[in-house]
Symmetry: C2
Subunit: 452 residues, 2 copies
């Protein structure tokens, strides 16, 4: 049977895969560091050579030059495509997205080992990029290799899309996707998308992500005095913009952080019975979450389902900070003349950024009218929509059955609390069925978790 | 008559005084700038030479070396005393305090003329330090000169005290005052203190200051997660320290800025009938205050007496800012793990810093208990007492009659909203009678306002 042959091949070559992952981790492709830019290009070359070797067509999209704060001007890491078209008439096109750049890492940050040397300890592999996202990226290549070596044709037309700026804002990617999605473009026939750049909730069960929260980020400007004032001379005389802002902010949430803005919660999709059952089945330990959340003593919920729903399918409001006020250490007694408060609301279906922003702005204006300080309020916002896929669709069914075969377990169907903007870009231009997962290596029927 | 002779002498020499002020302004003694440190020393020399020339004994107190952030190590500008003792048995000792350093100034800050070239325009003299505080400082010297030239003995034993670090925290002054106040010390016989380092409320009437507000400065630390968190992943799960802080802060004041902390207002001295009458007589225009306060459209009071009382004799609370939260331009979606909110309360008699700090801390702890976030509150404070003199005392009476003679007007008796820490130091170590004023040059019976 083809499948068994493939699994055997993969298991027989696991040592080799680890060796190659070690090579990739050692290419310290930190996209934010100009001194590591050549390593990003090395990593891109490493990938292109493998695409070619495996019979694919590497397509390199250059996206121009980057000027760094220190004045250096360097080429951006290119966007790489690997075209493994086998039969566009009979088989659909599956786009696989990963990134080959990594976050910075230094042994002094608290790593036990050199972060760019892959180390195995107690069945776990440690190294920067091992799971985010070089392991998943290479996984696609070795899957293709196994088909090729066994002489089995690929079951789909695979189109790989690997970017090198994901950790630095995905520069250029939107534009390339938009262009290549047009008729005749590289992506014009894509039917399915698989993003392998996400985490498992626990070490024990794979996840398939079908939803992401959106966001509206607000900057609330309050302008009073045309300059900063001495609080000895003017304290008690002027209506201080900071006092306005503190009271505006405190009207947005209750003391526990629940959103108080009228209408904002109205468009949140009601929880279905099916969803509740889904959440109950998910493997997740609130106690471990406390550790993950910086060793907090309390969480906002103790119940697993409520916690996960708070993360994934309910909005949340976070205050991020204040610009224009004193933010240094020590004491400064100034009355700031103009302050900008920053907060964001994570959005869930069916909240749309424009609508939520309108409610928030109206409410802020109402509150400001009550204060009657004479200071001027200005509200600025930027938003991204939430994303939700139908996990009953064929793409998700295929992914679920793949997980069942490899891990002998049904994956948890999860959402994410954050936004992955590229998801909305794919959705907008390709309109296809998307799912997100983290791939894991298999080895002698057990598997390695990939840690960073 | 001696007095008339003195006035005539002063009026006849006004051009010379302006010339000498021009020399002093040109010595750009900016105490905060290491590159201008030699100019501070030049200014100290200039003063010492004059003290000597006028028959006084200059005493130079060196206060050690300063290490600047750029690594330069330079001598601090010395504290200068000028001893003009004439007869310690019959006449009291009057200590006159001024400072010879200035704030930085640059034509690019919006000055019409080079700030270190004294310029006369429409009967006004412009130049950095002209009024704060070189004009008043030199005024003492020219008064002595007039007595000397006319062969009239000084009516008091004058002890000048001129520092060169006032604009940079008065480094070393407290210690020198403490030491020299001991039996046998330079200041041990001081009976009266006159601080000439303050402003007039308007251009039209001199002021005598008999009170200053104190201050308690609070740093409110709230610690939750041991690190900053991603608001996508943790928004809705953790009790965010910023949410706690926003609600603590908003409980301190109402939307108009009035203090809501229980007991804090209880120890404010009641307004007397005499005070009300005093405030009503003061020359002050709320419309001009709007300009001064950065062109604000609204003040917290429209009535003159209420405004002045808010500035001088009622407490006020100002929020200064938040440390540890995002304070830069643009957007950052982090949940800060630890934040420090900063605010201060200006104190008036009979509020004492320790007492007010206790009320505030208790209240903050009560509010935090309501929130039950599990985050840890820590309150840090530092305070300075308010200062209030009895303007019926002989020192004030002497100053008032001097103003009446020179300006033919009773000066306004004013307080200040800010703190001048040196006042409390003099009060503590000398225990004498203190008043504060701004001296103005007289010229042909009219006078120059000194502008910066």
């Amino acid at each position: 049977m083809e499948e068994e042959a493939l699994f055997n091949y993969v298991n027989q070559h696991s040592e080799e895969y680890i060796h190659r992952l070690r090579e990739a981790v050692a290419l310290d492709s930190v996209s934010s560091d100009p001194n590591k830019r050549s390593r990003c290009l090395d990593m891109a070359n490493y990938i292109c050579k493998w695409i070619e070797k495996l019979g694919g067509k590497p397509i390199v999209k250059h996206i121009g030059k980057q000027t760094f704060p220190d004045g250096q001007v360097l080429d951006y890491p290119p966007i790489l495509f690997g075209d493994f078209t086998v039969d566009t008439k009979e088989k659909p096109v599956l786009l696989a997205y990963c990134h080959y750049d990594v976050q910075p890492a230094d042994i002094q940050d608290g790593w036990k080992f050199d972060p760019f040397q892959l180390v195995e300890e107690q069945g776990k592999l440690y190294g920067r990029g091992a799971t985010d996202d070089k392991g998943p990226l290479l996984g696609w290549l070795w899957a293709i290799e196994a088909y090729k070596q066994l002489g089995i044709p690929l079951p789909v037309n695979l189109l790989l899309c690997f970017e090198g700026m994901e950790e630095s804002g995905s520069t250029g990617l939107d534009r390339v996707i938009e262009e290549e999605s047009k008729v005749g473009g590289l992506l014009s026939n894509v039917k399915y998308v698989c993003i392998t750049d996400n985490y498992w909730l626990t070490e024990h069960r794979p996840c398939l992500t079908y939803g992401l929260r959106g966001i509206v980020y607000f900057q609330v400007h309050i302008e009073g005095p045309k300059m900063d004032l001495h609080s000895g001379l003017f304290g008690g005389l002027v209506n201080e913009p900071m006092n306005d802002l503190i009271h505006l902010f405190s009207s947005l949430t209750d003391i526990h952080g629940n959103i108080l803005i009228p209408q904002v919660m109205d468009s949140v999709a009601p929880v279905t019975k099916e969803e509740e059952l889904l959440y109950e089945k998910i493997l997740f330990d609130p106690q471990l979450l406390k550790q993950e959340a910086g060793q907090v003593s309390h969480l906002r919920e103790s119940n697993k389902v409520k916690l996960l729903m708070n993360r994934w399918r309910f909005p949340s409001l976070s205050f991020h900070g204040i610009q224009g006020a004193f933010s240094g250490p020590g004491e400064k007694t100034v009355i700031p003349g103009k302050v900008t408060g920053k907060f964001s609301i994570r959005l869930v279906p069916h909240q749309q950024p424009e609508e939520i922003a309108r409610y928030v702005e109206n409410y802020l204006r109402q509150q400001m009218n009550k204060i009657q300080s004479g200071n001027v309020l200005q509200v600025e916002w930027r938003g991204a929509s939430p994303w939700l896929a139908d996990y009953h669709n064929s793409n998700f069914q295929a992914a679920r059955s793949a997980f069942q075969k490899v891990y002998q377990v049904d994956p948890d169907l999860t959402r994410e609390g954050g936004s992955i903007p590229i998801t909305n870009t794919f959705q907008e231009y390709l309109g296809g069925e998307i799912y997100e997962q983290t791939q894991l290596y298999t080895r002698n029927q057990s598997y390695y978790s990939l840690y960073e």
